[in-house]
């Protein structure tokens, strides 16, 4: 128990949902405040920046579909990472798995005769290619104990150059002389969109189904149980007869495959061709780490956190246009948010109690942060 002025910090084993929400919101607010200071040192008015950001996203009706569009890949990558992180597999390679999925889907769209089977087939190819991209680091980790953080990252760069090679070399479109991208997909391989927007709803539906399905998997199935035990205590998992290789592989395949689906959605739903890696993904795979971290191990909570990151990305786009800031402004926001999230983690190990002014007898009982506990999918909020 620590006393800080009138409040007392008591250690707890599992924080309440409301407290998790308060700490997470505090971390995000601190990140936005720090960005304001940085903008000021860069010679920009923080008030102007945030006014432009809110005017361009929350006050502008055209922004909502844009936020939804950016939420789709963040959701697919993010829910997958939730599962991988629960199994203690530090997959930092969602970006590369997304690109691999885009390549797989492009292969189907360009080289398999088009028809009603095109869309399901390109989704399947995207999932398979993403999963394959995750399997090499998984094999290195499980078979040779090679640190997966580094190898998944290396795979991101390898995927990036693979896409670059394809669009400059063998898959370069026949009719696009000066540019580096493939031919446009046949229309049968285009995903339907919500009219007037770029929201390719089949991918969104898959993302929502994945969130629900993975929540069920983790909470109610044998595999989910095994993933949770393996992540919490590998030794206990071994004594319980859980096969660590099989269980980890399942988590990796799900995670990497969903990232691959996100890539398939981007090329078939928005661009209708394979193009420069930075245009296929604006760093969704990296930002998905924040989606998963904010969701604190809960696939359903990832729906909300993906939406939040979708808003951050859209805000970055708004600032790019209205303030001529480079696209890295989103990266800066993301880095700061993640920093403050990690930094505030320690607060979750405590419960804050109001104890009255120092020197006034016993601590009074007034739990803080209880309200709003059931308001989001973050309820329960045990972290692994």
């Amino acid at each position: 128990m620590k006393r800080l002025g009138p409040v007392v910090l008591e250690p707890v084993t599992a924080p309440s949902g409301g407290w998790v929400l308060v700490v997470s919101a505090g971390a995000v607010a601190a990140a936005l405040a720090t960005s304001a200071v940085l903008f000021w040192t860069f010679g920009l008015s923080p008030a102007g920046v945030y006014r432009a950001m809110f005017a361009g996203t929350l006050a502008d009706p055209r922004a909502a579909p844009e936020i939804m569009r950016q939420t789709i890949p963040l959701l697919l990558c993010g829910v997958g990472l939730v599962v991988a992180f629960r199994a203690q597999f530090w997959n930092i390679g969602a970006e590369g798995q997304l690109l691999a999925g885009a390549v797989g889907a492009t292969g189907v769209a360009l080289f398999v005769p088009a028809g009603p089977w095109s869309v399901p087939l390109l989704f399947a190819a995207g999932f398979a290619a993403g999963a394959a991209w995750g399997l090499l680091p998984a094999w290195l980790r499980l078979g040779l104990e090679v640190n997966e953080v580094i190898t998944t990252l290396m795979m991101n760069y390898i995927a990036l150059f693979l896409v670059e090679w394809l669009i400059h070399g063998p898959w370069k479109g026949r009719g696009v002389f000066g540019f580096a991208y493939t031919d446009t997909f046949p229309e049968a391989a285009w995903l339907p969109v919500v009219p007037g927007t770029h929201i390719h709803w089949p991918t969104l539906a898959v993302g929502l189904l994945a969130a629900g399905g993975l929540a069920f998997l983790l909470a109610r199935t044998r595999l989910g149980f095994e993933i949770r035990v393996l992540g919490q205590n590998p030794h206990a998992a071994r004594y319980a007869g859980i096969d660590p290789v099989r269980t980890s592989l399942a988590a990796v395949v799900l995670s990497a495959g969903l990232a691959g689906l996100a890539g398939a959605g981007e090329v078939a739903g928005i661009h209708h061709k394979l193009l420069a890696p930075s245009q296929v993904s604006a760093g969704y795979g990296y930002a998905a780490i924040i989606v998963a971290w904010l969701a604190r191990g809960h696939p359903l909570a990832a729906v909300l956190t993906a939406l939040f990151l979708g808003w951050i990305f859209t805000s970055g786009d708004v600032m790019k246009v209205s303030l001529q800031l480079p696209f890295q402004v989103t990266l800066m926001f993301n880095g700061l948010i993640l920093f403050f999230l990690i930094g505030s983690e320690r607060l979750l190990a405590y419960r804050v109690r109001w104890a009255g002014p120092p020197g006034h007898g016993l601590p009074a009982l007034a739990p803080a942060g209880g309200e709003g506990a059931a308001a989001t999918g973050a309820s329960g909020a045990r972290r692994t």
């Binding site: 940085l38 860069f42 530090w90 930092i92 090499l136 290195l140 040779l144 104990e145 090679v146 640190n147 953080v149 580094i150 190898t151 990252l153 290396m154 795979m155 760069y157 390898i158 150059f161 693979l162 670059e164 090679w165 400059h168 070399g169 990296y286 780490i289 971290w293 001529q324 800031l325 480079p326 696209f327 890295q328 402004v329 989103t330 990266l331 800066m332 926001f333 993301n334 880095g335 700061l336 993640l338 920093f339 990690i342 930094g343 505030s344 983690e345 320690r346």
Partner: protein, 286 residues
């Protein structure tokens, strides 16, 4: 032939210089028990500040000092989160990488395409200084009391603390030192190797530096050997441009890193990695 060999060695040295500096820094940070995945971010901040200061003052050396300061300051952020707040070191380092790349990109708007008038030569003092530094750091690590203290905080922080070592202080110092070296590595890129500023000019070198620290077995001298290998690889890919697609050549160092990690991890069999690497330490822990 001799000329060709000489050119190869010189070019390999030049390309390897930033890798060497950055991975020496990472080796010291990790020896103290703290992983810092933010090398890419610290390097790019170093590259930007080096360029901006060198351009404004006309002194590339001042630029390098600014780079060192920027790298150290960025590393301090990671140190606070990873050491004092005991947050997840891997994720905190990733956050630093994102933040560094983002902030350098925002700061660097308007600085692209400006030529630098006063530059350092490609194979410069920094290259030889780096080689000398590796030897010194190796000597300090294995043959001095300071090195023993550093290694003990990474291997058994509780035992080190019981022996009177200020674990927290040592870890802070090691992480900031690592940041300073990463900053200089970035500065080398923008004032000597390719005297200009382009966003994302570190191009993944920071991640390779981290991998190099691992497969050098956290040994500064072996990092020199690894640096040569990468330098030669980069130089080779430069020479092969006519025969092989440039995208594959740029992929090469990353693929090579995967293979090297696989081979070396197998040979090390878990040996060599500091025992408490990545584990937060709270004073009083046993």
């Amino acid at each position: 032939m001799i000329d060709y060999l000489f050119t190869t060695v010189v070019r390999a040295l030049a390309v390897g210089t930033p890798l060497l500096w950055a991975s020496l820094g990472e080796i010291y940070a990790e020896r103290s028990g703290v992983v810092n995945l933010g090398v890419e971010g610290m390097m790019i901040l170093g590259a930007f500040f080096a360029f901006a200061v060198a351009h404004t003052t006309g002194h590339p050396t001042l630029g390098l000092l600014a780079a060192a300061a920027a790298g150290g300051a960025a590393a301090l952020l990671h140190a606070v989160v990873a050491i004092t707040l005991r947050g997840n070191q891997y994720v905190s380092g990733l956050a630093l990488a994102m933040f560094g790349l983002g902030a350098a990109g925002v700061l660097g708007r308007g600085w692209e395409g400006i030529p630098l008038l006063h530059t350092l030569p490609e194979v410069s003092v920094l290259t030889y200084l780096g080689l000398g530094l590796a030897v010194v750091l190796w000597g300090v690590l294995y043959h001095t009391r300071l090195g023993l203290v550093l290694r003990s905080t990474g291997e058994a922080p509780a035992a080190a603390a019981a022996a009177g070592v200020n674990v927290i202080l040592v870890r802070y110092a090691a992480v900031v030192f690592g940041g300073v070296l990463a900053g200089v590595a970035g500065g080398f890129l923008s004032v000597a190797y390719r005297p200009s500023w382009t966003e994302g000019m570190t191009a993944g070198l920071g991640w390779i530096a981290i991998a190099l620290a691992i497969f050098a077995g956290w040994d500064p001298l072996r990092a020199v050997a690894g640096t040569f290998l990468y330098g030669a690889l980069f130089f080779l890919s430069f020479r092969l441009q006519a025969q092989i697609a440039p995208e594959f050549l740029r992929m090469l160092p990353f693929a090579f890193t995967m293979a090297a990690l696989a081979v070396m991890t197998r040979r090390q069999r878990g040996q060599g990695a500091p025992e408490a690497l990545g584990l937060p330490y709270a004073p009083g822990d046993r």
